[in-house]
């Protein structure tokens, strides 16, 4: 594609195509979008974050990430659609315009670029990163078990050959450590939304403990509003609740760490589908999935904007 208008949003793309898209979006919208490289992956690929900002300095911010699990292709594809929506709806959608006039949005579309590249070239079903584990022939760490929140607890594994291997220590993986450093150095992130697929859920902390989050009542209310907005487009039904009560116990997850760091509006999505295709969700589902998710994202972003803390 020569520009973001002719980019094919209805198809899955390779890593280099996604990175080209990011550069095009920045070039076309220099006053709104910029790109920051927050680190390098295990295999040396850049970890790109797009910043959507209308000015100001260290404004309160919303973080959105997609693609921490490599094979969940509909999430990276949705991230591309979200980026385009932010650009096109700024100035036309009053709620988003207000948000962007007061806050910044950060979007990391491919948290796990090594894994994503591997799904395109070697193994479509790959989930983890591509870390070479010492003393094991098995490769990769589950990047959503590597955070310092109940690290190493139930719902993660110390066996490098499993899909939920937590790594040698919390934040051992560069893909995680880069986000940790970015969040800590920014210091003003008010919402952190991590996007996965597929199970059709909107979840909030905690995953590693049954202890309810102290803001559970508010998080639950916002989640209910968000899934209602999501369902308004195509009737897609999402469950919502804490991770441990809605799915299963999982330790070392990203939003448990962000919540414990003081980011109240910490959520994780599980996008479509209902289980007929799983990770092989057909490409014609990308735009509908992104469109319905965008409505829920806007509810969370709007609530964050209107409820400063």
């Amino acid at each position: 594609a020569g520009n973001t208008d002719s980019f094919d949003y209805t198809n899955y793309h390779t890593l280099s195509e996604i990175y080209s898209f990011q550069d095009m979006l920045v070039a076309e919208n220099p006053k709104l979008v910029s790109k920051t490289v927050i680190g390098q992956s295990f295999e040396g690929r850049p970890l790109n974050v797009l910043k959507f900002s209308t000015g100001g300095s260290n404004r309160p911010a919303i973080w959105i990430d997609t693609g921490i699990h490599a094979r969940e292709w509909v999430t990276q594809a949705s991230g591309i659609v979200f980026a385009q929506k932010i650009v096109t709806e700024y100035g036309t959608d009053s709620a988003l315009t207000e948000i962007l006039n007061g806050m910044d949005i950060f979007l990391e579309m491919v948290v796990n670029p090594d894994g994503y590249h591997f799904t395109h070239t070697n193994n479509r079903m790959w989930r983890k990163n591509r870390k070479q584990n010492q003393d094991s022939s098995c490769v990769g760490v589950d990047l959503n078990r590597n955070w310092n929140a109940g690290f190493g607890g139930r719902g993660s594994s110390n066996n490098p050959c499993t899909e939920i291997y937590h790594g040698t220590r919390a934040h051992s993986e560069p893909e995680v450590e880069s986000i940790v450093k970015f969040v800590e150095s920014h210091g003003n992130i008010k919402a952190f939304i991590s996007i996965h697929s597929y199970s059709q859920m909107l979840l909030y902390p905690y995953g590693y403990t049954r202890k309810p989050a102290k803001d559970q009542a508010e998080l639950d209310q916002v989640a209910q509003k968000a899934v209602t907005a999501l369902a308004s487009l195509y009737g897609t039904s999402f469950r919502y609740g804490s991770i441990i009560k809605t799915i299963y116990q999982s330790s070392g997850g990203s939003i448990d760490w962000t919540y414990n760091r003081g980011i109240k509006y910490s959520y994780t999505f599980e996008l479509r589908d209902t289980g007929h295709f799983g990770f092989i969700l057909p490409a014609n589902q990308i735009v509908p999935t992104a469109n319905e998710t965008w409505l829920a994202l806007k509810v969370i972003m709007d609530h964050t904007f209107k409820n400063p803390y």
Binding site: D8, Y12, F277, I280, A283
Partner: protein, 89 residues
């Protein structure tokens, strides 16, 4: 490229937590090389061809309901690749 010929994705429908725990036991048997896609009920799991018989027998012996949600994973992957190529062209 890894080939998933003969792999199936089972949708397992445990009737209670006891059956769910029995399903989870299979995750620890690394030789089966199971890949759990979804841990909520119902559970979705990719089963390599070399483990199909063992997993089926295990589930049936414990009267745990299941069906093959994806009967030929490689066929889906091939279709996905074909679509990407055709759009690119």
């Amino acid at each position: 490229k890894e080939n998933f010929h003969g792999h199936q994705v089972f949708r397992i429908v445990p009737k209670d937590d006891v059956q769910l725990a029995l399903v989870r036991v299979m995750e620890d048997i690394l030789d089966l090389e199971l890949d759990f896609w979804r841990w909520v009920m119902p559970v979705d799991v990719r089963v390599p061809s070399h483990s199909l018989q063992v997993v089926k027998s295990y589930l049936e012996s414990h009267s745990i309901k299941y069906f093959a949600m994806i009967k030929d994973l490689q066929a889906l992957l091939d279709e996905e690749r074909r679509q990407m190529k055709s759009v690119a062209a």
